[in-house]
Symmetry: C3
Subunit: 138 residues, 3 copies
Amino acid sequence: MESYRKELWFEASRRRELINITSNIDHCLKESNIKEGLILVNAMHITASVFINDDESGLHYDYEVWLEKLAPHEPVSQYRHNGYEDNADAHLKRQVMGREVVVAVTDGKLHFGTWERIFYGEFDGRRKKRVLVKIIGE
Amino acid sequence: MESYRKELWFEASRRRELINITSNIDHCLKESNIKEGLILVNAMHITASVFINDDESGLHYDYEVWLEKLAPHEPVSQYRHNGYEDNADAHLKRQVMGREVVVAVTDGKLHFGTWERIFYGEFDGRRKKRVLVKIIGE
Amino acid sequence: MESYRKELWFEASRRRELINITSNIDHCLKESNIKEGLILVNAMHITASVFINDDESGLHYDYEVWLEKLAPHEPVSQYRHNGYEDNADAHLKRQVMGREVVVAVTDGKLHFGTWERIFYGEFDGRRKKRVLVKIIGE
């Protein structure tokens, strides 16, 4: 069994942002030289997500509006977590969108459907944060 | 390390439907001959889910009502994604229910609790769509 | 490839409770003697979650309030699942928080960001329930 790992850094310029990281993950997979196995991609921070969906700007706008409805940022005083911080909503949004994805590796490629793309979902940005890529297989 | 993969096709007759696919996954596991490892089951489409819960029709009705409350299909014009399409709500519902499950394989069986069953959750159906089964182990 | 499995039992004294199980999982990892691989931690019950977030009591209070808003326990008669049972809301809450986490194992340790902690999320407690730990790797 072979294994590979890499930590990728991202810095969103806004508080909330969805970043397509599919090409970064493709690059890791090539570097690993693993042909059959599983790849785990997870946020290393608890106010961010890694998820798979569509790279379509209208949909990304819909996610922003929807997540703000389900778990609004303001008023920040509505959350007990917001004593010294103001990011409680980001901890909630991350649970809806998920921490991680596990993707099959087949013939050295991400075994994806036509429209699957991997996103880093930032909900408390404007600072550097990490995503972990771990691959195991042969 | 051994690996196995199969793409399963499903066609829901309605827009939204929950299909128990546990026996399909059991069949794949037997076919793989893998006794110890991990099995990944994921939707290959971004308007569908694979998740684990109860095979109880009352609960499935509750999921339908609840998901329509959290992310209503209509009016379709409320979503920017719905220019040429009308499935934005399906992309949202899929995030609540999840893309994939990872299940332990022990002694050649799905290592499950008493009531765990695997479902394909369709939120934009009436066409053929795929689920990926990937198993690694020994 | 090596594999390891253990079922852990938890009994929450209240209906809903979040229990930090990181040290239990650390102990399993040491016992497995696996240095590189993946660890799966999942609830074996369909009214409970395993998830990763912050060990901060204010945030846990926020999760309680938020999940009760998204999927209220009462009135129990609002759910069709609640014929003989009263836990339909727990099946819904568990979908928001998730069934499982997959964590990378690197150099014999959980490959975690600074604030990542693993929680058992109980939404229908006051009875013994199980969490499965499965590790594969070398």
